[in-house]
Symmetry: C2
Subunit: 332 residues, 2 copies
Amino acid sequence: MDSLPAFAVGVDLGGTTIKAALVERGVGIQHELSRPTEAEEGPAHVIGRIAEMVQTLIRRAPDHQIAGIGIGAPGTVNWERTAVVYPPNLPGWGIVDLRKALQEALGIPLPVFVENDANLAGLGSAHYGAGRPFDAFIMVTLGTGVGGAIIYRNRIFRGTTGGAGEIGHMSIDYEGPLDRYGIAGSIEAYIGQRFLSRYARYRLLTQRHSLVHQMAGEDLRNLTPRLLYEAARAGDEPAREVLAWAGHKLGCVLASAVNLLDIHKIVVGGGVSAADRFILEPARQTLRRYVIPALRDKVEIIRETLGNEAGMLGAAQLVFQLLEHPSEELEA
Amino acid sequence: MDSLPAFAVGVDLGGTTIKAALVERGVGIQHELSRPTEAEEGPAHVIGRIAEMVQTLIRRAPDHQIAGIGIGAPGTVNWERTAVVYPPNLPGWGIVDLRKALQEALGIPLPVFVENDANLAGLGSAHYGAGRPFDAFIMVTLGTGVGGAIIYRNRIFRGTTGGAGEIGHMSIDYEGPLDRYGIAGSIEAYIGQRFLSRYARYRLLTQRHSLVHQMAGEDLRNLTPRLLYEAARAGDEPAREVLAWAGHKLGCVLASAVNLLDIHKIVVGGGVSAADRFILEPARQTLRRYVIPALRDKVEIIRETLGNEAGMLGAAQLVFQLLEHPSEELEA
């Protein structure tokens, strides 16, 4: 092979939408496409759809040359990065070898790498986003759940089976509320979207003066984190208190991760992180109190400003990394 | 240089005792020495003493050739692994460049590497102890404090500044008891020797039927974890309950570490771990409940049977590793 093409395709395989981008190495996204996933039609349909998007993007690349394709999906991927394993957002999928299927659908044996989407968001941040100044950081993605990734020496720290970074299921209270896995006091059971919405609803139901009562319907049945931020931005003190409570919990779990890893920078992405001052500022205060003294002046929480693009950029970056240094990443 | 000598000296620089061993690579300790530290005499005295021990051991090596010297010390070492930084067991020491001082004392520029003692216990376990079957595991050392290390791909995972593995200060309850750093609910505040002794004393003071009342003096003022194990081994139910309580807490913090790192094997060393069935069995049960479902069948807690030797073996192993692959470990 001659020198590696400077372009790759990064795919974000979501439950409702497939996003794909042509990424120029070190520069960013050059073209971006979006299609409904239609996951209910099955893997073959979805893979055909990804192949079409990839072909469209290849035609936009110089000389129609790309280095390969990176695909991000939620949940587990296999260690070889070829397959999704019971992806939670694609019901009924089981284990699907995306590399093989996509290569067949394309009719060309382009390199294909599959990786967990939170890990790719971290890798994208490391090379194109808020993580660029650091060669090691913890990525936290606040959304429906609490996703995480460990970036170390500008690469994904994979652990033993490729699943490292599950910060969402670290516990901050061994007798705390249960998350969906039955783990007591995991951070997701406090600030995952469903849990935070329920907590906020119970806490604010009797606080009739809170703005959220004008926004979230009868009995606050439509209360979401997003409505909390809107109320907080409008000056609503009860909503701010809920978000500060969430930020405090986030700071606790981050401190445990920092103490264990000796990694001092934390990049927070995802929709919730838009509420920087209401969640992240309390998180910063708590974080400093819960890390060992030697780290108190070093810890820092930074907000990621890349949105969905982080995952696609990370997917493309993974292709470049693995083709240049296969042994470092792929060995067990 | 010709091929690397197959022997190195591993030193364990304790607050009261210096231990040093001549280690044959892949085989184990060939000779071992022990001297009082006499730390109050200052760094020059202690370094002179280490130099004497090293010289004695070099004379036992084939052709009087060793690859180098590894030194383990508690607390922080600098990233370059040349100096201890305010070692907690050597009061008044500040930052001491052990490499330079020892090379000068020896009069020969042998390679010298300094590393945190918990990290070296982990490395020793990885190459000579219970960690041998695994290329990644979490090492926990139960003693005065709760030490930790992360072994990944048979090497020490160092983090950003060389301080990774501080599992003792991970919190399991954000409103729990404070440790010596003021961190709420850190595992050390439950099972560190001083904390566990105090908890046991208060819990057992009124349980007059417990054997510990015959062992620990008036008002249980001499109660230690070791006495608890002795009582537990003698069948004392109250003592067993205290140790099970400690094991449950240990399982909680290990689960958070496992979830974050995706490292499934845990090697427990240190004096407390002798109480395998009383502490580690409850820890195993809790651990399984607090890790994500995908890991429940994979997690395993193994007891390290090497004692102090683990640290010296690890110190020697570090010398071999760093001389063979300097860039992998030393780059930032």
